[in-house]
Symmetry: D2
Subunit: 165 residues, 4 copies
């Protein structure tokens, strides 16, 4: 994926929580996808807490979603484990389980989006195009400044017909 | 001061570091003024470190300045003390010393701007108008989101003649 | 369990890592048992990192062990999940899996020792007696002072025959 | 100063707060002296907050004291500045001002004790001998373990007559 190009639809096996119908259905809103694995230390200690803080602060023009992209320890991160993990950590946003074509392959959306590992953050603008993609962690001030600028840019990036839903 | 109204010029007795000629001379840039006292715990532990982090991240379209607004312990926070403090803490942005009309009065700019205490942050938009003023601390994510949105709003708030310098 | 009374032997189904033969075999050393569940937030964010820091600092006269005491979300915290969790978080000390008499009962050692939840820390003196038991978290300075005093007390608590192994 | 040798009496110009009559008068108690300068970043951000946490936790058999050892920026850290600083940061233990033989010399106690800079911590056992001296910061767990062991060692280090006051 390249900046400013359309982000392909995800392929999600199921949602924990009330997930959206599709990425396309979120057109007109900024979408922050936090791709993680429940047993990845960078996700547990930095990525997920930051995504939760973002969810608490962002209003209706932006949405935070999780994407569980398991590419290792498949037996350790099945549905029951993920559900318990999300409940115990009180993750308040919906989390989609990235689809696998074969049981131990890299998950579908992760491959299609070219993600390099976890945690990764994919930020999609109001027109459904890639704003940026980041592997690893950024501190709160960097994330806030970057995301604030995207949110402040109003609908500048939209071309009339497609943008505001 | 009210949001969207012009911010009055400061009155500064001297600058530590290379301060700007005036507030007016910064028209066209977002100005973040961190008003502090060198012996205020909220300034030492939260406000100043955050202002330094902002200074490190913001480019030419935004400027971070300190304003030393002493309204208590006047003998403890004189010029020699302030200079040593700024050198030891490696504060990288210019700091203006708010003027006093009489030696122990509330300092001039603090009164004129209606600041309630320290730390206070005053954010001024590209047209020289108050974006917001805050007494106390905010966490990095809140500050980043808020400031990012102002920076992302481009020159939308400017009315042709006055705005970009 | 009461302070200064002998701590009963644990009953552990298996060890991840190189566990000791028994509690009795550790007589003469101070034993710190960190009882946790891999999906308990207080364990993930405070208890386990602190136990790791203790393990890194303590020498041969003290030993840190984990005890996985699962009493909820049994399906989510099976052997494969625990092993992946310990590997990913690089937990450097051996972890025993507390035994269950029936699949969903409270685990055996947890009941026998009267632990109230996770994280719990059980500290056993050189003579095999309970020094203290704590439910929840303590900050590093409290833990250090308390444990340091026990370690500094030399073998005062030992009655000749039984104490140094 | 060497470990286990008697620590020479300090020479203090004045106390802020209710200081002890002398070091000798504290015989029988463990004494933790936190040597600092009010404008030293390592003191402000790590040393002093840790000394305050120690003071809050230690009982009657141990005492925490500050020692203001100014060897630079003498004009910036005079009596008025120090008093305001200690009041604002709510430092709860007495602070002695290390004596100067000439106005800009290294302070007397700092030289006599051979301290290399600030922050330094000097820990004196119940018999008035040096337990250890440390330049710079240590984390809470290290400090707690080390100090706990000294406190736990009872009066082992005392020779009958001189030790308990």
């Amino acid at each position: 994926m390249r900046p400013n190009e359309p982000v392909p639809e995800w392929r999600v096996r199921r949602w924990v929580g009330d997930g959206p119908a599709s990425l396309a259905s979120l057109r007109g809103r900024v979408v922050i996808v936090h791709a993680f694995q429940m047993l990845c230390p960078g996700c547990i200690y930095r990525g997920i807490p930051q995504a939760v803080r973002l969810h608490e602060r962002l209003g209706g023009d932006a949405v935070v979603l999780g994407l569980h992209t398991v590419f290792e320890h498949h037996d350790a991160m099945g549905d029951a484990s993920l559900e318990a993990f999300l409940a115990e950590l009180r993750v308040p946003f919906p989390v989609g389980v990235d689809a696998h074509e074969t049981p131990r392959s890299h998950p579908w959306t992760m491959r299609r989006w070219g993600l390099r590992g976890t945690p990764s953050t994919v930020v999609i603008d109001r027109a459904g195009r890639l704003a940026w993609e980041r592997f690893g962690s950024e501190d709160d001030l960097d994330v806030g400044l970057r995301l604030g600028q995207l949110l402040g840019a109003a609908s500048e990036g939209c071309d009339g017909e497609v943008c505001p839903a």
